[in-house]
Amino acid sequence: MEKLMEILRRLGYLFTRNSRRQELESEMDFHREMSERAGRPEVRRKFGNAERLKEQAREAWGWTWIDRLGQDLSYAARTLRRSPGFSLTAILVLAVGIGVNVTAFSLFNMMVLQFLPVRDPQSIVRLQRRSPDASTNTISYSSMIFYRDHANSLSAVMGTMGTGGQRFENDGQPVSASFITGNYFSELGTRPATGRLFDPALDDASGAPPVVVLSYAFWQRRFGGDPGIAGKVVHINGKPATVVGVTPYALASLGGAHPDLWLPLSQTPYFVEGSTALAPTSSSGPVEMWGRLAPGVSAKAAEGELRQLTDQLRKQYPKDVWENEYIRSDPGGHDQIMQPDMVLVMSAIGGLVFLILAVACANLGGLLLARGVAREHEIGIRVAIGAGRGRIFRQLFTESLLLSTLGSVAGLILGYVTLRITMANANAPLWMTATPDWRVIAFTFAVGLVAAALFGFAPAWQIARQRHRRTIVRQTLLAAQIAASSLLLIVAGLLVRAAQHALYASPGFGYEQVVAVDLGQGSHGYKPAEARSLLEQFRTRAQAIPGVTSVALTSMQPLGHIRVSTISNTINGHLVRIFPFSVTPEFFSTMRVPLLRGRNFLPGEEHAVIISDSLARKQWPGEDPLGKQDASGSGPGDVVVGIAANARLMDMEDGDTVQLYHAAKEADMTDLTVLVRTAGSPDGLTPALRALSQSLDPKLFPEVRLLKGEFNSATQSAANIAAVITALGFVAVILAGLGILGLVAYSVSQRTREIAIRLALGASRAQVLRAVLRQFSWPVLVGLAVGTGAAAFASQILRRLLYGVSNLDPLSYASAIAVLLAIFALAALLPARRALRLDVARALHQE
């Protein structure tokens, strides 16, 4: 209590310290007068100290530092204003270094930290099935209902099921739709743009009339924003449904889903004829499950309760619930659900952008040191009139802080602009804004502080101790810049090569002339035998279309994203990801995946597998795999009959290409996709294939995709990453080049006299040039060596993220080092030329 009162009193002094100071001064003046009156001579002696005494008395309040900071700040502001060229350069360099970091953090913040603008986003959880050795992001409708009805720790459970390819009226283009539980919008607190959104009481009841909610963009695009849309009847997959409303313009949805249409999950069988999505078959299914934690319940507690419910579910479906299965909960109220594999990517990006800051700071440190020499005179005077080292250090550091604060503000603006441009080009959700929130602002100023410590501390210390003539600090700063920028440029080179590899190296299969047709027979309730006859008819009739050369069936569409399954097995001590395909024999010729050895599947063959070359080499190095059983991932009794060439069919970034092909069986028929190869361009084939499917069964509305489009989008991300890193690398190199330019120019100007004497004594220009540049040779060499070593280490990490990044790609390294050396040589020679053009007589007269 007394302590508190003391703090309050102290705070009171902070705000009234000017009037307090006057009171104290008049009191002390009175004391002096009295003493003089009493004729005490020693008081007069100390008269000169009066101001110091008053300051000491005030120090008891504990606020003198604020006054000093004010003094330092106004002094620093004056100093910076006096040399606008230096200040602008410094702020610009800092703005780049800080801005890059702010942009990266803002993106992270928007996607991972910021909550969705929905009702109580903190309590929303994403619920997924997990077990120690299996995971899936979807669950069956019946299991979701089971959890919804029995979990007390969840106040609500929401289900979503995204689908593509619904037919809207008779439009040629398919529209995308999300099937959602009726409580979805009311749980999120979403307000409609017009009409109403779903209501569980109205739309989830059995026999409820079919309804649809349009997305804002679709409403604008398809209906020109018709204000009377609510109540209209539209046809989805040929089924009439009433439009009840439109979602808001800046809709915040779970998991970043932005389909054209929203439909009630409970009405799936109506809209998708024959759909088994709601059938209470097993625990695996197509529904994404979300929950809202009951008030006061932690995610951990909810997981515990759900685990018990999973055990009850296992009693109902002993075969379908995995061993040790549990429901994992992740915070769901964000745009992206943070997954463990994202951490590595994020930290790699964080490391790279921090390097830019490091280069900027090293650069600025060099500038400040050089400037310290120019201020030698001023500092000398201040020391002479009694300023302590600590005081000068504090003053110089305040200057750095002021610079870094200005740089932070500029960086914040730069980050904002970059973010606006990025978001405009990246289809960001409309609720996201580039306007920095408190996290971004706090981050910016924290980075500014770190920057000030990085670039300001060493120079301030050196200058305050008046030892700035030592070159070692400058050389170290230079070496650091070169190391960081060469690291960035080499990594950029590796990534560009990786992107090129992805773009131009053969993926091992022919994609340009292949069209994938997903008839969706499984989701329309086809039985295997019906599906087989449908596919058979489709195949025969497709082959009759002019230009079609072959037709094949596959369980996984190459480069596709739906129904992708993988098997993770340990082969000879290495964890390997295997893609198991079920295909018809025509697959290999249609996809242009050559069979290297052995033979293709025979018609009706059951226990035969074809494996990719890399699987053969991994499992049986140096042995003949033909005729062997137990290929990893295959079933008992399966015999290897052929070896297929490696092809990156499912993942462009997968260097392993481990595939296992089974002959497609009757049971697979419901899930097979048709692959159609054409002789010429496949672009005009889509309508013909769609019409063909319509003629076979009018309720089908197939997804038709050109594989070359899928290929482009698969490689686009690698190309984008490479472009961004290259831009960062060049920013770093240009900063480092400017740093070298400044240091050499400074060093030449410092040594004008020495150079003139050398020239006067008959030294050749080349000798002089060597003498000037010698001090920069080792920082360049050390910097390059450190940067190259770090790049070799970084490439190890990158290899795990991106296919085609090689460990020691000599071309990337050599070209990066060559570019760096060229830029550094240019940066050093430009100012060094001044030394050579020196007018010897004038230079010597000047000094």
Partner: protein, 125 residues
């Protein structure tokens, strides 16, 4: 300086401006509080009083008196109010608060204990 536990106060001095020997700074606070116990007075009077009462041995300088007074005010051991001096000038008078009274008692007790301890060492060692 005015810590409750009175651990060897003589050595607890501010760094920048050491008071002259003969006026241990820790003891100064104690003396000020003690002098104020007899009634409110202004800074110069406090210094004079200590000077006189110590038979002119102890000399309180501005450089230590005013920082000490500021601290006493912050701690709430005394309050200051404006009054008119004997020379008809406006000046601040310091008045001991009940908290200050308590502090004085504590410090006196601690001081006695320490001096006794020192005395016994000096006598026996």
């Amino acid at each position: 300086m005015f810590r409750h536990r009175y651990s060897m106060p003589m050595f607890d001095m501010p760094k920048d401006d050491m008071p002259k020997p003969g006026m241990p700074s820790g003891a100064l606070g104690l003396l000020i509080l003690r002098v104020l116990q007899s009634g409110p007075m202004h800074g110069y009077a406090i210094a004079q009083r200590i000077h006189v009462l110590s038979s002119e041995v102890l000399d309180v300088e501005e450089g230590s008196l005013y920082p000490a007074l500021q601290k006493i005010l912050l701690k709430g051991w005394a309050t200051a109010e404006w009054g008119i001096s004997e020379t008809n000038r406006k000046v601040r008078f310091y008045r001991l608060t009940p908290q200050g009274e308590r502090q004085l008692e504590n410090e006196l007790r601690d001081y006695d204990r320490v001096t006794q301890a020192i005395q016994s060492v000096l006598r026996t060692a």
